[in-house]
C-alpha cells in the first residue's frame, strides 16, 4: 500500500505537490556533523545577540 505521501506528491495541482523539497545534498548537509557543529555555535551566538539586544 502506497503511503499518503507517495500518492499526494504526484497528484497534479495539489498544494502538496507544489511544496519545495530538499535535495539529497541538502539532506546530507543537515546531518553533516562538522557543518552542524559550526551551525550550533553560530546560531547560538545569533540568538544570544538577538535576546540581549532586544530589551534595555
Amino acid at each position: 500500500m502506497a503511503s499518503i505521501h507517495e500518492r499526494l506528491k504526484n497528484e497534479p495541482y495539489s498544494e502538496y505537490s507544489f511544496a519545495t523539497r530538499p535535495t539529497n545534498a541538502t539532506l546530507f548537509w543537515r546531518r553533516c556533523i562538522i557543518k552542524q557543529i559550526y551551525l550550533f555555535f553560530a546560531l547560538n551566538l545569533k540568538i544570544m545577540r538577538i535576546v540581549v539586544g532586544g530589551h534595555s
Partner: protein, 485 residues
Amino acid sequence: MSKVVVLGAGISGHTAALYLKKGLGKNHEVVVVSPNSNYQWVPSNIWVGVGLMEPNQVKFKLEPVYRRKGIIYKQALAKEIRPEGDSSSENGYVVVEYVDEARRGQTEKVEYDFLVNATGPTLNFKATPGLGPDLYSNSVCTYDHAYHAWKNLKVSFEKMEAGIHQTFLIGTGHAMATCQGAAFEYALNIAFEVNKRGLHQFADIIWISNEYELGDFGMGGAYVNRGGYVTPTKVFTESILAEYGIRWIKRAGVYKVEPGKAFYELLDGTYHEQSFDFSMLIPGFAGAQMKAFNKKGEEITSTIFAANGMMKVDADYTAKPYEEWKSSDWPEIYQSPAYDNMYASGIAFAPPHGMSKPMESPNGTKIFPTPPRTGMPSGVIGKVVAQNVIHRIKTGRKDHPHKASMVRMGAACIVSAGYGFTKGQAATMTVSPIVPDWEKYPKYGRDINKTVGVIGLAGHWMKLFMHYMFLYKAKAKFGWSLIPE
C-alpha cells in the same frame, strides 16, 4: 519594607520572582501565588507527548526553590484583585484560595505594594465543544496532558504495528487559537516516530490550522534569507511538512469535536469534517478570569482586564483596521494604566491587536491566529517588569528605565522535528522584531539579517541544550542569572 506579589509561576512569573528577590534582598518581601506546585519547561512537553521523556524530566517542585531563595510561596489560585483595598485596608490586596492538601478551600487576603500578574493562559477547551483531554482530543499544553497524549499515541502505534491504518489530526482546535509552533512540532515528531518505526504506509498525518498561509505562526509569517532567495515562511513550512509526509488543511476554524471526528469551517464559509484515530488540537487561550473591585466594592473588572480576561497595560487598545496598526500600539513596560503599582507579564497582558491580518468567513466567523507571547518574550518581559519594580522600590521614583517592547525584541523558536543525537532534527527560526514593523522595515517588516530559518541536527542539539540550561536556570542554581532568557 515593600511587598511584591507575583501571580503565577510559569516562565514569566517565575523569572520575575527570582529577579525580584535577587534585586530586593532580605529587606523586602516577594510572594508567589500559583495553583501549580511544579514548574514545567513547556517546550519539552513535545518530547513527553511522543514518549521520549518522562514528565519528571520537564518539571520540578517549586517550593524547595522558593524556600532556598527566601521567596514566600502560596499554592493558591488568585480569585479577586482589590487594587484600592477596602474599608478595613488601605493597601491593595489579592483574594487567593488555597489548593494544597492542607488548606484546600481556605481563602486569604494577600496585601501588596506592587503586583505582577503573570497568570499565563487559561486553556479554553470549553470554547470548542468536545475539545480537550477530558473529552475527545489530546493536548500537549501541560506535562500531564502530554503524558496522557503519549498513552493514546502509543495505542495508535500498536494498531499500526498490527497493520491497522491510523489517521492523525494535529493543529489548532479553535478558529482563533495561537501557539501553532507547539502543535507543528508535535506533528513533525509524530511523523518522525512513525517513520522511525517503519510504519509510514499505515499513517495519514494531517496538519489543520487557522493560519491563512502555513508559516504564519500567529506573527503574520516572516521572510527568510535562504538558498539565495528571500522566501516567506510559507515555503519553509510547506517544504518540511511535505518532506515528513504530512498533508495540511489551512484557513480552518475547528468548531466542534466528536469521538473520532472534527468539524471545521473554512475561510470561504464552507463546512467540513475530518475523521481521525488520534488528534492533538491546541485550544484557544483566555486570561485567568479574575474579578476586580474598587474600594466601595463595585466591580471594575472591565477597567483592569480586556474581554478575554487578559490584563490591560500601556498599549493602545483603540480599535483600528489592520492597515492602521502601528508598532507604537505595543506596550513597553507592561504597567496597568489604571493602577500604577500593577503590571502584567507574559501571556497575562492583553495585546493591543493581533500580528496576523484578521480574516472573517462569509458566515462572520473570525478565522486567524491570535498573537503568541510564549517562551523567550515571556521570560524577557518577566525580567524587565522585575527590574522596573526593583528600581521603583529602591529609588522611590516612578520612571521605568527598562523596556521590552515586542516591536524591538527578537525571538527564537526551535521547532523539534525528531529526537536523537545523530538522527534528530529541528527547524531553528529567529525573527527580529517579533511584531512586524513596516515603518522601520518597509520591505519585509523585520530585519532580514536577523531572521533565520535553518533545518538540521544543530537545531536538535540546541533544543536539548536549552532544555537542560533553562531548567538549571529555573532551579536558581549557581550563576542562574547569567543565563539569558
